[in-house]
Assembly symmetry: D2
Homo-oligomer: 121 residues x 4
């Protein structure tokens, strides 16, 4: 089941509980930030090696999966409330990034190092 | 094309540019926070009505779509690097939320108002 | 006791526990984001009126005070680790903002509405 | 000039521009998250060594100082709007942390490693 099914389920979930009025873009964006904050707790103090090890353990994997699920849920709900096709926007951005960062020019390059995938204007 | 295709494309994108070493869980989680910060800029000062209006305009829609695309991209990449099925985790969370917040008990209720979809322990 | 005393106390606190190696700028910045996420939980779903009411109650005030204390602590520690005078930087920014947003030009103005105090380039 | 003077200046700054209505706790908390997101951009991809080097350079120091100034400004303004003494809350938290993490018990200890200064319940 894909993102569209998830969006539809979240729509139904909110409607069943009469929670639509709480799902303003502002509140959903705030919720995204709250969940990302929780996700960051898992990487707050560890070294990259420790985090990688944690991520390999069943408990670590499960804990981080829950946080990412919450981020995913709010992201999909926000996109739906704003009437935007999330996957389409993501693919468009990937295409734009491919143009902005041609592989031949940026391969391992340090000047562009600060501008991987997401990039910035 | 679904999330799996996007994850594969992001994997290829990073490999082509030899950027995998930057994609530690820590850096990707930080990137998520950076992008959510940019998304929050759109809702920082406006009232809910103003934001809804902005969201209906073509420019507002496009601007917010780009930010959400960036959040989506980092979320998918992080899940992939950690070897977790993002959609599966999201669906599991939705099921858990449905149990934690039975529609009959929480419909429009103010006590549970503070705990919509994402909820908290 | 001012910010400088707090910075010195946090320095001592970390040294006593041999925690300095965890206090890299990266980890402290992540910690700031974690605490801001917790702070945002208090304003996640409420209307402005409800939040104002919560802020007036002793419990609400205490809860929000703790979150803000955590943000303050990490901010002061980060500034100290980076060797920057936080208050001096804040005053410099206030002066710059006063020039960027002359009171006569922006009073209640809607075009500038999106750019209060912090502003953006 | 201390935090109280800064709070008073920010109060005046907002009043002069008739911007008080934008300074709801919700909007100020969002603004904090926006600024922390900008601060995180400086540590997003670099290694701890690279970031330390950046922090030693005049330009790096200046750039990061501006972000931290913005975080400081919104934090002080939020505390003021909520009628809370920020420094007093910070000192109270430091005292609580000293009790929760007695130096003798946590010195360099890995079990407590995940709970430096800010800690969590």
């Amino acid at each position: 089941m894909g993102l569209d099914d998830l969006a539809a389920e979240l729509r139904r979930f909110a409607a069943d509980r009469e929670w639509e009025r709480f799902h303003t873009p502002k509140n959903l964006a705030i919720s995204l930030a709250v969940e990302v904050g929780e996700l960051l707790e898992h990487v707050q103090w560890g070294t990259d090696e420790e985090i990688a090890e944690l991520a390999r353990s069943p408990e670590g994997k499960a804990a981080m999966a829950e946080e990412r699920a919450d981020v995913c849920i709010y992201l999909v709900r926000l996109a739906d409330v704003l009437g935007v096709d999330l996957l389409a926007a993501a693919w468009a951005k990937v295409a734009a990034n491919a143009e902005r960062y041609p592989a031949d020019e940026v391969r391992g390059s340090s000047e562009k190092r600060a501008r991987p995938p997401g990039g910035r204007a």
